[in-house]
Subunit: 214 residues, 4 copies
Amino acid sequence: MQSRSPTGRAGRAGRPRSAAADTAILAATRAALVELGWSKLNLGDVAARAGVAKTTLYRRWPGKNELVVDAVAELFDELELPDRGSLAADIEGVVRQFAAILERPEARSGLMAVVAEATRDDALRARIRALIVDRQKRLVREGRARAQRRGELPAERDARQAARVVDLIFDMVAGAVVHRTLVSAEPADEDWARGFTRVLLCGLFDTGTPGDRR
Amino acid sequence: MQSRSPTGRAGRAGRPRSAAADTAILAATRAALVELGWSKLNLGDVAARAGVAKTTLYRRWPGKNELVVDAVAELFDELELPDRGSLAADIEGVVRQFAAILERPEARSGLMAVVAEATRDDALRARIRALIVDRQKRLVREGRARAQRRGELPAERDARQAARVVDLIFDMVAGAVVHRTLVSAEPADEDWARGFTRVLLCGLFDTGTPGDRR
Amino acid sequence: MQSRSPTGRAGRAGRPRSAAADTAILAATRAALVELGWSKLNLGDVAARAGVAKTTLYRRWPGKNELVVDAVAELFDELELPDRGSLAADIEGVVRQFAAILERPEARSGLMAVVAEATRDDALRARIRALIVDRQKRLVREGRARAQRRGELPAERDARQAARVVDLIFDMVAGAVVHRTLVSAEPADEDWARGFTRVLLCGLFDTGTPGDRR
Amino acid sequence: MQSRSPTGRAGRAGRPRSAAADTAILAATRAALVELGWSKLNLGDVAARAGVAKTTLYRRWPGKNELVVDAVAELFDELELPDRGSLAADIEGVVRQFAAILERPEARSGLMAVVAEATRDDALRARIRALIVDRQKRLVREGRARAQRRGELPAERDARQAARVVDLIFDMVAGAVVHRTLVSAEPADEDWARGFTRVLLCGLFDTGTPGDRR
DNA sequence: CATTAATCGAGACGGTACGTCAAGTCTTGCA
DNA sequence: TGCAAGACTTGACGTACCGTCTCGATTAATG
């Protein structure tokens, strides 16, 4: 998925690419990210850790940015949305999972850096959307559908409206957790997740006692 | 404010630092950020643009990271919170202003990059908090106080609770706008701002027709 | 000879070093020495003249000192000792040749400078001895052997004594020419060479009319 | 002597220059030369050691080269030529004294370096001649006159011839000691001094048993 | 089963930017 | 005015990575 195939139609003649190398390189990238952080990360070091030549790495990825997107994207594939019985519980659960990933240094260092690079690189931005953003929106879609099945949320008027709502919620949830964790640099712990979920579901105008609606 | 004072007690002996240089350097930094972006930004170029020697720059800032934090921080000082008559209108206004800043390439490139670097640099994180985060929380505090005066929001139980709410709202607003703009890479336009404000104030459970409560 | 070989056993793996680069760099060093002199000589300029990256230069030589020793050493390899029929004529010949080399600006600037640096750098001193001093002592040894074959000089008692005499003569000849040329800054012309040779062979006590013994 | 006087006639107006400063600066230069050597020597450090501002230093000397010539020249003024009873003994004595000075790091590092610089700087070359070369030729002149008084050496035909001989002997003695000490990097000890003196006085053709003529 | 064509390791290559250091000048304020 | 302090411009330093290249040595699938 993440590496371009060497030929247009099919890997015809010649020695085929080592499948193990891809795995080793991505793992080495994460390891290097942990030790060195984004700015000191260098592809020569990654190649050495993976037991691979620098040329092998450049044959498969265009550069540092794309490599790190791929390496970080795999982290977010761990996210799951088990049914915790209510929308509030589901949200709190995914917020805590997301926060846990963002505690890991390989995610912290890498994620914001590639987003920063993506502000000036359309292809990179597309890659991030495809491998991280769009892929994790499944969580919002699934949680929303489940809540609608439970009757907690109304159905949307149409598909366009549904997509807009999913996008908005994703930006609100992911944005708040990322901002709390990386910009404000405070832990997104259980208390914070509960407060956040309350506002997200009931709004700031809500005056009810905590826990009444869940 | 952003530059270290040259002496511990008082700038007594020797030639004093040129005050104009600071201004020129920060402006040059933003200009270079627009043209080159974070990753191609180099201090030699910044120094040349500012009409200043590279050593002068290094005498005043420890490095690229701190320089960019200072340069970007000035951008956010433009944010204002004029009274638009209702909390909803105030939020929409500040969201649109914030989004407008994040459209500017010097902010886009710089902000996420320094946040990324700050994940491995405590001093840098502190600098970001002091110059950007804590400074802009004034907007949340002011908006909240104004809404309480209008009777739109209840008063907090105590100061600790108030601070927690301010922090939460700041992360939710800033996080959502940043994520929408930089990660999802979609415009935070008027429509989006309205939808966001609605959810923030009324929550996802809200079923009222749009506009009833504002 | 002057560049370190990249591998211990044999230059096997990896791209081999360009052989032409060594030649180009040493020639560029001499050219830069002529134009700029030692103190203004800089490796960036040398690299540019040689059409080579600065890193290539640093990969092969530790620094300016060693590079200049190698570049200057090649100049002295031009020295020859053709048989002019008598020891006096041979000495005058080599003195004039040596003086001619020291007229050249690349030798003038470089030689004394590296000797100066070598006063605080053992490795550099060893390099000078190996590439310049010991290499040119061949001239003294050869001239002495030839004079002994002619019967002009007696044979030494033993090898140790021979080595001491060779060292002494080398220091006297080279020292006098260098001092005349660079310190006193007077030309070591034919007249001077004749006077010097007379004293070296006959001593200050000699009272004979010039030319009687040759 | 070595510093230019600030005004044409007398240091009249304004604060007069501190006389102690000159002494302190030259001493500091030698101290820095011992610790750092020529190439690492820097005028900021010298100024600090001398308890003087860098500007003061530049007001009195044009630069590093001239400063070091002055500092080193003072060392050679220590040379003396006590009457040891014979020309051979006088020469051996001065050779040993000269060698002793060249053992001192401040002389080793500085002397060759300024000679190297002087190859491209006429004013510097003149300064070296005036302060070092010409000044120490007094030793040769005095030794020669003494030997003539003793009857060891004949008188010259005329003054021009006398000057040529003095120059030649000076270059031979100083050149040999410098070359032995700094280029060959061997000690100019008592043995070497005796061998050198023998050759200088009797020549290489001499076959007599050592010591017969002294 | 030999050929063939791409991949692999290693490492040199031309570049660019780094952050530091020294040279020499300029600008203060004090004596 | 001389002087100490120290900021200033300039420019080289030596290092580290960048992404490309040139090698000789493996490897499969093809012929």
